[in-house]
Amino acid sequence: MKSVAIASGKGGTGKTTLTAVLAWMASRELEVTLADADVEASNLPLALQVHSPTCTAFQGGGKARISEADCSSCGLCQEVCRFEAVLTPRPGVFRVDSLSCEGCGHCVRICPAGAIEMLPTCIGEACQGQCRTGPIAFGQLGPGQDLSGRLVTEVRRLGLEAAQEKGSDLLLIDGPPGTGCPLIAALASTDLVLAVTEPTLSGVHDLDRLAQVATRFRIPVRVVLNKADLAPEGARRLRETCQVQGLPVWAEIPYDPVFAGTLQAMSTDPQLQPRTDSAAWIAAGEVWKALARELDLPSPLAAR
């Protein structure tokens, strides 16, 4: 089985839309499994209508809690905490701000009164289900929690598990924005990064950062230029940048509100089929063919 991460650096370039469309095309020809690795803003399940998912709570490290009755107000916990998580709402009263606490346990060790304990916390949930194109794994981090990278890893694991069960040919991973720990967790051991970009200065800049990260992990990068006609000058600059950096541009998708709008509409209407005659859909078809060829997927369309 092959796995592909759809990423962008910059948010809002069209990762989820392209992932959903590619999944749609792939599911007509072979077995495809999806993983939505953007656990901070999980939208792929919306676009492809997940039904009856199985979700389990995902445990994070833990958060410290100070028992006011046992606390001797020495303040040592506040002194050792690197995360400024021990607050003093009133003089002599010490309390842990759970959003700041990273669960290192330093305060628990140092407290001479034994007044601090670590409580396990649920930082979000990880889910597996079926959607309009086949199996899907996704997750949602609780707002304000950290360790999103660990939850991404769990979602990727669930995706791999579902793909193996189903005997999928392809695992498509809808990546998070940025270049930090969630992205790195999403890229782990993928065969290819499909970088979705847009012809804005920000798009070029963030594509460059994404390509540098992928190169560090020796994962090949292919580029899809989305909303290509919105800014012809920007598109020209992007093509040049990609050429200089040796990044193949697989397709240019024109700006098409119907293209994205269809997916938004599909999220509320299970009967709705995507419009396959738009210029954007046809351009996305080129991406699918190129992907199937590059990864040697059993696609009759690409073989033609």
Binding site: G9, K10, G11, G12, T13, E40, A41, N43, L46, G62, V80, R82, F83, L99, S100, E102, G103, C104, G105, H106, R109, I110, Q140, L141, P143, G144, Q145, D146, L147, S148, G149, P176, P177, G178, T179, G180, C181, P182, L183, I184, E198, P199, T200, L201, S202, H205, D206, R209, Q212, V213, R216, K227, L230, A231, E233, G234, A260, Q264, S267, T268
Partner: protein, 294 residues
């Protein structure tokens, strides 16, 4: 310390945070006085692209990372057992996996032979830019190094750098999402402006951001970008959360094209300027507990 700190955020990426932040920055500097725009999107910092000219100065952000002095390590394993992040493994001697180190200092405290020290390591940089021709605007950019993961540390460093200026207004252009990077940017702000778009994805992610804002107990307002006339979906959600909508930016190709080439809409469109103009005082009012009309 700044007189007022306004964070601009959204759950979903690409809703227009940078568009609003850069334009608000210019507007606030012209009308209100010294304004520091902080680009807190350390993994994809783009505000500087809109201010290509001007003197700039960068300094590294360093984070203390645990390091084991092999000669003094007795391989007792206490540090490994104490590390809540699984960052230490015993490979003959103790070894720290840097990207997992949080740095909390627990291993240093538990090591019986004093073999572990924390050594500052570079994870990113802060750049201070004084945009040419804009006397009252300063741009502070946080930039995570490629391959690094300590985004919150870089954001915090940018915010404390910004705090050194006696600004009337600090604007925090925040990273997308609702995890530690977003928290590092939003915590302690006086008010939060959530930028959204009237799509199913936008609404879903807006609700997560509203939840985060509530958890952090910061007054919030919403700006609808790429507004569609007649669409009431955002309004319905905002009413449920009792959060006002302070501006609606209609969808326009002109905005998209201007943004694409690094232009500033407040300088090219008086109408756009008028849409943004009331925001700073509305947000100050919100902080002061005034009811802002949705």
């Amino acid at each position: 310390m700044a007189e007022f700190t306004l964070a601009i955020a959204s759950g979903k990426g690409g809703t227009g945070k940078t568009l609003i932040s850069t334009n608000l920055g210019v507007l606030s500097a012209e009308e209100d006085g010294l304004t520091v725009l902080v680009d807190c999107d350390a993994e994809a910092p783009n505000d500087h692209l809109f201010f290509p000219q001007g003197p700039r100065k960068a300094h590294p952000v360093q984070v203390p990372i645990a390091q084991v002095e092999a000669a003094r390590c007795t391989a007792c394993g206490l540090c490994r057992d104490a590390c809540a992040f699984g960052a230490i493994r015993m490979l003959g001697k103790a070894r720290v996996f840097e990207e997992l180190c949080h740095p909390c200092g627990v291993c240093v405290a538990v090591c019986p032979t004093g073999a572990i020290r924390e050594i500052p390591q570079r994870v990113g940089e802060i750049e201070i830019l004084r945009p040419a021709g804009r006397e009252h605007l300063i741009l502070v950019t946080s930039r995570l190094d490629i391959g690094q993961v300590k985004t919150p540390n870089v954001i915090q460093a940018a915010r404390s750098t910004a705090g050194q200026f006696p600004a009337r207004m600090v604007l925090l252009d925040s990273p997308p999402g609702v995890a530690c990077a977003a928290v590092a940017s939003l915590r302690g702000a006086d008010a939060l402006l959530l930028v959204t778009e009237p799509t199913a994805f936008g609404l879903h992610d807006l609700e997560l951001s509203l939840q985060l804002g509530r958890n952090l107990d910061v007054p919030m307002a919403v700006l609808v970008n790429r507004d569609v006339p007649g669409d009431t979906s955002v309004e319905t959600l905002c009413r449920r959360w009792e959060v006002p909508i302070v501006a609606r930016i209609p969808f326009s190709r002109k905005v998209a094209e201007t943004y694409a080439r690094g232009g500033l809409m407040v300088e090219e469109s008086p109408e756009f300027r008028e849409l943004l103009r009331p925001i700073p005082s509305l947000m100050r009012g919100l902080r002061a507990g005034k009811v802002v009309q949705a």
